[in-house]
């Protein structure tokens, strides 16, 4: 079941992982200019994928939980419920 939702979620996870890893790196290397560039590039990608994912497949953040006037946050499956 390799659908568009899964493919987009994978891209979102990958961009977020760069942020997760670089966040730790920058904590102990706060003056690394190359690291800051990598972090900022990943953040822009993440924002793009997040916006695209939420528009197509529903909220990832509860703050974006209202879709067309409806509380959509609780409607989509929770992440551990992945049906394969």
């Amino acid at each position: 079941m390799c659908n568009e939702r899964e493919a987009l979620m994978k891209k979102l996870m990958q961009a977020n992982f760069v942020l997760d890893d670089m966040r730790l790196y920058l904590d102990t290397h706060p003056c690394d200019e190359e690291g800051i560039k990598i972090f900022e590039a990943a953040r822009m990608q993440r924002d793009e994928f997040l916006m695209e994912y939420e528009a197509k497949f529903g909220p990832v953040l509860a703050d974006n939980g209202v879709t067309n006037g409806q509380w959509n946050w609780i409607e989509k499956p929770w992440p551990w419920q992945n049906e394969v």
Partner: protein, 199 residues
């Protein structure tokens, strides 16, 4: 303050239930070197940490450990979904099932409930960072042992990811220790405790 993201940090897609594997992987939820203890260790230690880089690492690694807690919980949930009573009895999962059904509850594989005794928050930067480096290695060993005991690629994949993160965290805590030592008198790191003494 924390904000929940409705996604896992790394995907978990387990096709075949396996209560026997769940019994051992449970240790990385609530066991002595599990993800609950890991997150509580770092998030507790950070308040009295005097160096901003180290406070940052404790906050951000502690937060990532909460995401790992969710990954391990997702593994356990998927391993124990749609079990028959026969499967529960044959796998030895019955001892857990009698108290928790298939609810997720943090304990060690041995059945010992989660306890804060499994981690330290000593209020001393040198002591706590050595604790943190050891904790990451202990968690790595536990994941290594899990990898010796399971053969389903759907389980192995996220477990290998979690194991890898322990190594990265160990590296970052090692750098944190170096940063802390650079702040202290290089002739005697142990002369004072910068989390308590005024110097």
């Amino acid at each position: 303050m924390w904000t929940y993201e409705k996604r896992l940090q790394y995907p978990v897609n387990i096709k075949n239930p396996n209560p026997k594997a769940a019994k051992i992987i449970m240790s990385q939820l609530g066991g002595p070197d599990g993800e609950l203890g890991a997150s509580m260790r770092y998030l507790s230690q950070r308040y009295t940490m005097p160096y901003k880089q180290v406070t940052g690492i404790l906050t951000d690694v502690g937060t990532e450990e909460l995401a790992h807690l969710e990954i391990v919980s997702a593994i356990l949930y998927q391993l124990t979904k749609n079990l028959s009573i026969e499967q529960i009895k044959q796998s030895g999962f019955d001892a857990y099932f009698v108290d928790h059904t298939t609810g997720i509850w943090p304990s060690a594989a041995s059945g010992m409930p989660f306890t804060s005794v499994c981690f330290a928050s000593k209020g001393d930067v040198i002591t706590d960072l050595h604790e943190d480096m050891a904790a990451e290695q202990k968690a790595r060993t536990t994941y290594d042992n899990i990898l010796r005991l399971v053969d389903d690629p759907d389980i192995i994949d996220p477990i290998k990811y979690l194991r890898e993160r322990e190594i990265v965290h160990y590296q970052r805590f090692g750098e944190s220790l170096r940063i802390a030592q650079e702040h202290l008198d290089s002739k005697n790191f142990y002369a004072i405790n910068p989390e308590f003494d005024k110097c």
